[in-house]
Protein backbone atom coordinates (compact mmCIF):
# COMPACT_ATOMS: atom_id res chain seq x y z
CA UNK A 1 0.00 0.00 0.00
CA UNK A 2 2.62 2.49 1.16
CA UNK A 3 4.81 1.19 -1.66
CA UNK A 4 2.18 2.27 -4.20
CA UNK A 5 2.24 5.87 -2.92
CA UNK A 6 6.06 5.85 -2.85
CA UNK A 7 6.06 4.61 -6.45
CA UNK A 8 3.79 7.47 -7.55
CA UNK A 9 6.00 9.95 -5.66
CA UNK A 10 9.16 8.60 -7.33
CA UNK A 11 7.51 8.80 -10.78
CA UNK A 12 6.65 12.43 -10.05
CA UNK A 13 10.23 13.13 -8.95
CA UNK A 14 11.79 11.60 -12.05
CA UNK A 15 9.31 13.51 -14.20
CA UNK A 16 10.27 16.75 -12.45
CA UNK A 17 13.96 15.91 -12.95
CA UNK A 18 13.25 15.41 -16.65
CA UNK A 19 11.51 18.79 -16.88
CA UNK A 20 14.46 20.51 -15.15
CA UNK A 21 16.79 18.82 -17.64
CA UNK A 22 14.67 20.06 -20.52
CA UNK A 23 14.82 23.60 -19.11
CA UNK A 24 18.62 23.35 -18.89
CA UNK A 25 18.82 21.99 -22.43
CA UNK A 26 17.10 25.11 -23.76
CA UNK A 27 19.13 27.58 -21.67
CA UNK A 28 22.66 26.31 -22.26
CA UNK A 29 24.96 27.06 -25.16
CA UNK A 30 27.96 24.82 -24.48
CA UNK A 31 28.06 21.67 -26.62
CA UNK A 32 29.62 19.35 -23.99
CA UNK A 33 27.04 20.45 -21.43
CA UNK A 34 24.27 19.66 -23.85
CA UNK A 35 25.62 16.14 -24.30
CA UNK A 36 25.73 15.80 -20.51
CA UNK A 37 22.11 16.98 -20.21
CA UNK A 38 20.91 14.57 -22.90
CA UNK A 39 22.80 11.73 -21.17
CA UNK A 40 21.08 12.58 -17.88
CA UNK A 41 17.74 12.71 -19.66
CA UNK A 42 18.30 9.23 -21.07
CA UNK A 43 18.99 7.93 -17.54
CA UNK A 44 15.88 9.64 -16.18
CA UNK A 45 13.66 8.36 -18.99
CA UNK A 46 14.91 4.81 -18.44
CA UNK A 47 14.10 5.11 -14.74
CA UNK A 48 10.68 6.55 -15.55
CA UNK A 49 9.86 3.68 -17.91
CA UNK A 50 10.90 1.04 -15.35
CA UNK A 51 8.92 2.73 -12.56
CA UNK A 52 5.84 3.09 -14.77
CA UNK A 53 6.17 -0.58 -15.73
CA UNK A 54 6.35 -1.55 -12.05
CA UNK A 55 3.22 0.48 -11.33
CA UNK A 56 1.17 -0.96 -14.18
CA UNK A 57 2.58 -4.46 -13.85
CA UNK A 58 3.54 -4.68 -17.51
CA UNK A 59 6.61 -6.77 -18.30
CA UNK A 60 7.15 -5.55 -21.85
CA UNK A 61 8.32 -2.00 -21.08
CA UNK A 62 11.50 -3.31 -19.50
CA UNK A 63 13.16 -3.92 -22.89
CA UNK A 64 12.39 -0.32 -23.86
CA UNK A 65 14.13 0.93 -20.71
CA UNK A 66 17.21 -1.21 -21.38
CA UNK A 67 17.38 0.04 -24.96
CA UNK A 68 17.08 3.69 -23.88
CA UNK A 69 19.80 3.20 -21.25
CA UNK A 70 22.19 1.52 -23.69
CA UNK A 71 21.67 3.90 -26.61
CA UNK A 72 22.03 6.82 -24.19
CA UNK A 73 25.41 5.59 -22.98
CA UNK A 74 26.69 4.63 -26.43
CA UNK A 75 25.63 7.92 -28.01
CA UNK A 76 27.32 9.89 -25.21
CA UNK A 77 30.55 8.00 -25.76
CA UNK A 78 30.28 8.38 -29.54
CA UNK A 79 29.68 12.12 -29.25
CA UNK A 80 32.66 12.58 -26.90
CA UNK A 81 34.83 10.51 -29.22
CA UNK A 82 33.72 12.69 -32.10
CA UNK A 83 34.51 15.91 -30.21
CA UNK A 84 37.92 14.56 -29.18
CA UNK A 85 39.10 12.91 -32.37
CA UNK A 86 36.89 14.15 -35.21
CA UNK A 87 35.78 10.60 -35.95
CA UNK A 88 34.01 7.89 -34.03
CA UNK A 89 35.43 4.64 -35.40
CA UNK A 90 39.05 4.72 -36.46
Amino acid sequence: MILGYALSFAIGCFGLALLLNLLRLFTIKNLVDRVLVVDTMAVNVAALVILAAAQSGSALSFEAAVLIAMTGFVSTMAFCKYLLRGSIIE
Binding site: F9, L23, N30, L36, V37
Partner: protein, 133 residues
Protein backbone atom coordinates in the same frame (compact mmCIF):
# COMPACT_ATOMS: atom_id res chain seq x y z
CA UNK B 1 0.57 -9.31 6.22
CA UNK B 2 3.48 -10.29 8.41
CA UNK B 3 5.67 -7.84 10.28
CA UNK B 4 8.76 -8.70 8.22
CA UNK B 5 6.93 -7.97 4.96
CA UNK B 6 5.75 -4.63 6.33
CA UNK B 7 9.28 -3.64 7.34
CA UNK B 8 10.65 -4.63 3.92
CA UNK B 9 7.88 -2.59 2.28
CA UNK B 10 8.70 0.48 4.36
CA UNK B 11 12.40 0.18 3.50
CA UNK B 12 11.55 -0.13 -0.21
CA UNK B 13 9.25 2.90 0.01
CA UNK B 14 12.02 4.91 1.70
CA UNK B 15 14.44 3.87 -1.07
CA UNK B 16 11.96 5.03 -3.71
CA UNK B 17 11.45 8.40 -2.04
CA UNK B 18 15.21 8.90 -1.58
CA UNK B 19 15.84 7.84 -5.17
CA UNK B 20 13.33 10.33 -6.54
CA UNK B 21 14.76 13.13 -4.41
CA UNK B 22 18.33 12.36 -5.53
CA UNK B 23 17.22 12.43 -9.18
CA UNK B 24 15.67 15.88 -8.65
CA UNK B 25 18.83 17.09 -6.85
CA UNK B 26 20.98 15.83 -9.74
CA UNK B 27 18.92 17.79 -12.26
CA UNK B 28 18.82 20.82 -9.96
CA UNK B 29 22.62 20.67 -9.79
CA UNK B 30 22.75 20.90 -13.58
CA UNK B 31 20.73 24.12 -13.34
CA UNK B 32 22.40 25.71 -10.32
CA UNK B 33 26.13 25.03 -10.71
CA UNK B 34 28.05 27.62 -12.66
CA UNK B 35 31.05 25.81 -14.21
CA UNK B 36 30.95 22.94 -16.69
CA UNK B 37 33.22 20.74 -14.58
CA UNK B 38 31.06 21.34 -11.50
CA UNK B 39 27.95 20.44 -13.47
CA UNK B 40 29.54 17.10 -14.34
CA UNK B 41 29.44 16.08 -10.64
CA UNK B 42 25.67 16.34 -10.21
CA UNK B 43 24.35 13.69 -12.62
CA UNK B 44 27.22 11.25 -12.19
CA UNK B 45 26.73 10.97 -8.44
CA UNK B 46 23.26 12.10 -7.39
CA UNK B 47 21.30 10.85 -10.40
CA UNK B 48 23.15 7.52 -10.49
CA UNK B 49 22.46 6.85 -6.81
CA UNK B 50 18.86 7.99 -7.34
CA UNK B 51 18.19 5.54 -10.14
CA UNK B 52 20.14 2.81 -8.33
CA UNK B 53 18.04 2.99 -5.18
CA UNK B 54 14.81 3.35 -7.19
CA UNK B 55 15.66 0.18 -9.16
CA UNK B 56 16.46 -1.77 -5.98
CA UNK B 57 13.09 -0.69 -4.62
CA UNK B 58 11.37 -1.81 -7.83
CA UNK B 59 13.12 -5.19 -7.50
CA UNK B 60 11.76 -5.51 -3.95
CA UNK B 61 8.29 -4.46 -5.20
CA UNK B 62 8.33 -7.20 -7.86
CA UNK B 63 9.61 -9.72 -5.31
CA UNK B 64 6.76 -8.89 -2.91
CA UNK B 65 3.97 -8.68 -5.52
CA UNK B 66 4.90 -11.32 -8.09
CA UNK B 67 7.17 -13.50 -5.97
CA UNK B 68 10.01 -13.65 -8.49
CA UNK B 69 13.59 -12.46 -8.23
CA UNK B 70 13.93 -9.28 -10.31
CA UNK B 71 17.53 -9.83 -11.37
CA UNK B 72 16.98 -7.80 -14.56
CA UNK B 73 16.29 -4.60 -12.66
CA UNK B 74 19.38 -5.12 -10.52
CA UNK B 75 21.44 -5.77 -13.67
CA UNK B 76 20.28 -2.44 -15.11
CA UNK B 77 21.23 -0.70 -11.84
CA UNK B 78 24.69 -2.30 -12.11
CA UNK B 79 24.88 -1.07 -15.72
CA UNK B 80 24.27 2.52 -14.61
CA UNK B 81 26.86 2.32 -11.84
CA UNK B 82 29.48 0.97 -14.26
CA UNK B 83 28.80 3.43 -17.10
CA UNK B 84 28.47 6.65 -15.06
CA UNK B 85 32.24 7.05 -14.41
CA UNK B 86 33.02 6.31 -18.06
CA UNK B 87 30.58 8.92 -19.38
CA UNK B 88 31.94 11.43 -16.87
CA UNK B 89 35.57 10.75 -17.84
CA UNK B 90 34.87 11.15 -21.55
CA UNK B 91 32.70 14.24 -21.10
CA UNK B 92 35.43 15.88 -19.02
CA UNK B 93 38.05 14.95 -21.62
CA UNK B 94 35.88 16.53 -24.32
CA UNK B 95 35.44 19.60 -22.11
CA UNK B 96 39.20 19.93 -21.47
CA UNK B 97 39.91 19.51 -25.16
CA UNK B 98 37.54 22.30 -26.17
CA UNK B 99 37.88 24.84 -23.34
CA UNK B 100 40.57 27.20 -22.10
CA UNK B 101 40.83 25.38 -18.77
CA UNK B 102 43.92 23.63 -20.14
CA UNK B 103 46.23 26.45 -19.08
CA UNK B 104 44.99 26.23 -15.48
CA UNK B 105 45.68 22.51 -15.00
CA UNK B 106 48.31 21.44 -12.47
CA UNK B 107 51.44 19.86 -13.99
CA UNK B 108 51.58 16.06 -14.15
CA UNK B 109 54.96 15.92 -12.42
CA UNK B 110 56.25 13.41 -14.96
CA UNK B 111 57.61 13.77 -18.50
CA UNK B 112 54.28 12.91 -20.10
CA UNK B 113 51.55 15.54 -20.33
CA UNK B 114 47.82 15.06 -19.82
CA UNK B 115 46.52 12.51 -22.31
CA UNK B 116 43.82 14.72 -23.81
CA UNK B 117 46.20 17.61 -24.46
CA UNK B 118 49.32 15.70 -25.61
CA UNK B 119 50.68 16.14 -29.11
CA UNK B 120 49.39 12.89 -30.56
CA UNK B 121 46.32 13.08 -28.29
CA UNK B 122 45.89 9.37 -27.53
CA UNK B 123 42.40 8.48 -26.44
CA UNK B 124 43.77 5.98 -23.93
CA UNK B 125 46.98 6.10 -21.90
CA UNK B 126 49.59 4.00 -23.60
CA UNK B 127 50.95 1.06 -21.67
CA UNK B 128 53.89 -1.18 -22.58
CA UNK B 129 51.44 -4.04 -23.12
CA UNK B 130 49.51 -2.04 -25.72
CA UNK B 131 52.61 -1.20 -27.70
CA UNK B 132 53.53 -4.87 -27.94
CA UNK B 133 50.13 -5.84 -29.33
Amino acid sequence: MSLAATIIEIIAAALLVAGGLFAVIGSLGLLRLKQSMQRLHAPTKATTLGIGSALVAVAVHIWLNEDRLALRELAVALFFFLTAPLSALFLSKAHLFRSEDAAKLPPTGTKAGWATLSEDNPAEPSHPQDRKA
